[in-house]
């Protein structure tokens, strides 16, 4: 009998605990970025680290992303295991050369002789009225380019386990955490931002999607907030006798084709939901996989929901119109079921 109460953490504390435990385990691990010291990270993912490890291993940087992400690359090449934080993924513009011409390519161009065991962690996502330069996810922008593992966990358990895996991985890992799932006191309080998280260290693989709800009628593939919205929609659909299977993609690169194909073989219908732009995005990639590898399993056309190729607008009515939510997912599935 388990008598001990289960331990509960918010997303940000789960991440900070993963980093802390890895820093204890391996002296090569260190963190650098803007406001990650005393402030504990704008989205709380480095809370308590500077108190524990000091400013030599938890480095507040100037607003100089090219310099500190480039420096992380240089240190990783020397065998260190840096974790660099890009405060908002939207800020990638000022440092993308370091990220995709160097971090992503040096291991390959060196014929595998140079390893870059580093993590680039960054906050993604909208829904809190922060407009076009602070609300994107840019999942596909990063996943499109070879040479980086790109992950986007959706709950505190995975945030911890996948962060541990990311730090231990010998490849550059872009670790995207969703602002709304950090459990921060100044954002909307979501149940999904709190979860049971074991204290002992554990790993979650960086290449496996997860079926978070089983169903037989339709498969919904989501990621981060979209997974939670898909589950919400699925529960409503269940009341009307439609059983949706929901897959949390978790990892964009590499993408877990098998889990999606296996589900589609069962449901024969597929809706893909993304908080990134529609064109050339994750929804297109998943569609292509199914079109190529499970075309004859399908009983209805593949359906997609994503940001309709506009920047994220500021005003609430506009933002809610472009970011998919539970209602849109529900309606889309109803439409798919009616057509088939």
């Amino acid at each position: 009998m388990e008598t001990a109460k289960k331990r509960v953490l918010t997303g940000n504390k789960a991440m900070a605990e993963a980093i802390s435990q890895e820093m204890e385990r391996d002296p090569n691990v260190f963190v650098l970025g803007e406001d990650i010291g005393k402030y504990g990270g704008i989205f709380g993912s480095t809370q308590g680290l500077i108190e524990k490890f000091g400013p030599e291993r938890v480095l507040d940087t100037p607003i100089s992303e090219t310099a500190f992400i480039g420096a992380a690359i240089g240190a990783a090449a020397e065998g260190m295991r840096p974790i660099a934080e890009l405060m908002f993924v939207d800020f990638f513009g000022v440092c993308m050369d370091q990220i995709y011409n160097h971090m992503a390519k040096i291991p390959y161009m060196s014929g595998g002789n140079v390893k870059l065991p580093m993590v680039l962690m960054t906050a993604v996502g909208g829904g809190y009225r922060d407009a076009g330069q602070h609300s994107q996810t840019l999942y596909a922008t990063f996943a499109h380019m070879p040479g980086m593992k790109v992950v986007a966990p959706s709950n505190p358990y995975d945030l911890k386990g996948m962060m541990v895996s990311a730090i231990r991985d010998d490849n550059p890992v872009v670790f995207m955490f969703h602002k709304s799932l950090q459990g921060l006191g100044w954002m909307e309080q979501l149940d999904a931002a709190v979860d049971n998280v074991p204290e002992d260290s554990y790993t979650v693989p960086l290449n496996k999607a997860k079926v978070v709800r089983e169903g037989k009628d339709v498969t919904i593939v989501g990621i981060q907030m979209m997974t939670h919205y898909a589950v919400e929609a699925a529960e409503r659909l269940a009341q009307e006798g439609i059983e949706a299977e929901v897959i949390d993609l978790r990892s964009l690169a590499p993408i877990d084709k098998d889990t999606i194909i296996e589900s589609v073989k069962k449901t024969h219908r597929l809706l893909i939901v993304d908080e990134d732009y529609l064109s050339y995005g994750m929804t297109a990639e998943v569609s292509a996989i199914i079109a190529e590898e499970a075309f004859f399993e399908m009983e209805a056309p593949i359906s997609r929901l994503a940001i309709p190729d506009v920047p994220i607008p500021y005003s609430g009515v506009l933002e809610d119109f472009v970011i998919p939510g539970p209602n849109k997912i529900y309606e889309q599935v109803k439409k798919m079921m009616a057509e088939a």
């Binding site: 607003i63 100044w186 909307e188 500021y314 005003s315 009515v317 119109f321």
Partner: protein, 335 residues
Amino acid sequence: MFEEKQPAVSMEKMVWMYEQMVKIRYYEDQMAEVYMEGKTPVFNIGAGTVPGEMHLATGQEPAAVGICVHLTKDDTVTAPHRPHHHAIAKGVDLKKMTAEIFGKETGLGKGKGGHMHLFDPEVKFSCGGIVGAGIPHAVGAAMTSKMKGKDWVAVAFIGEGAANAGAFHESLNLAAVWNLPLIVVVEDNSYGISVPKKSSTSVESNDLRASAYGIAGAYVKDNDPIAMYKVAEEAVSRARNGQGPTIIEIETYRFLGHFQGDPELYRDQTEVPGLRQMDPLLKLRKMLAESESINETDLETMEKRAKQEVDEAYQFARDSSYPDPESALKDVFSS
């Protein structure tokens, strides 16, 4: 106290600066209140009349008014994520600006931009949410001025944290090489969010970096609008006369957090009350009140007028409608 009792600044200009500072201060005070509407008892950044991040400029007025007093509609201003004081001093349409911050269809960007992304081409004003990004845009405006043979100048306002971004170096070198009418105003409010200047910046003040580009640099201490006026007058004159760019750094005070809701655990609790003791608005008022050419009634009339303009802007924003949701799909391309 400000550096001179009787500065070589006309009363008319001083009064203009004071009125703008009153307007800015009152605007930001109102915004701080409105921002909390719908965010109590539980604070949620995405909720309320004005959602999203909110960076207020309370205490930083001198930087904006001290240089904008020398500018015309033809001169360009680019501003960062904390843009209200610059926008007001540059003469941005206050009603449309407020409506934009409220997310209304009558706003400068029809509700698409919000507080960090205000664009008013009528007075050549823009701002943005990416640190340092406005500097090269000002370089472009300065290039245009030169290519068209005009005497227009371009002013890029940045925080002291932005001086460590690559865009600062690249832009200033380019402006120097091309001898452009560019002025970069660095507002040193001591912090890049939580990181103190001394742990992020290799020099005491960023005007010292001017020598790296072979251009002029000037420093304004004590958040002094009159000293800013004088330094800016020289910089603008240099720019208009084809004598190239200037970096001005002004020591200024951030009375509030980086954003509304910032717990500010990184600074001593006595710091802000200390800064408030040196409030530039009160200092300038005292100076004007002591002068012979303006009396208390004049000052009060002016203050009332400034506040009324702000009140009308907020009312306009409240009365305006939210945009049609489907309008989110428009304006990606011009038609």
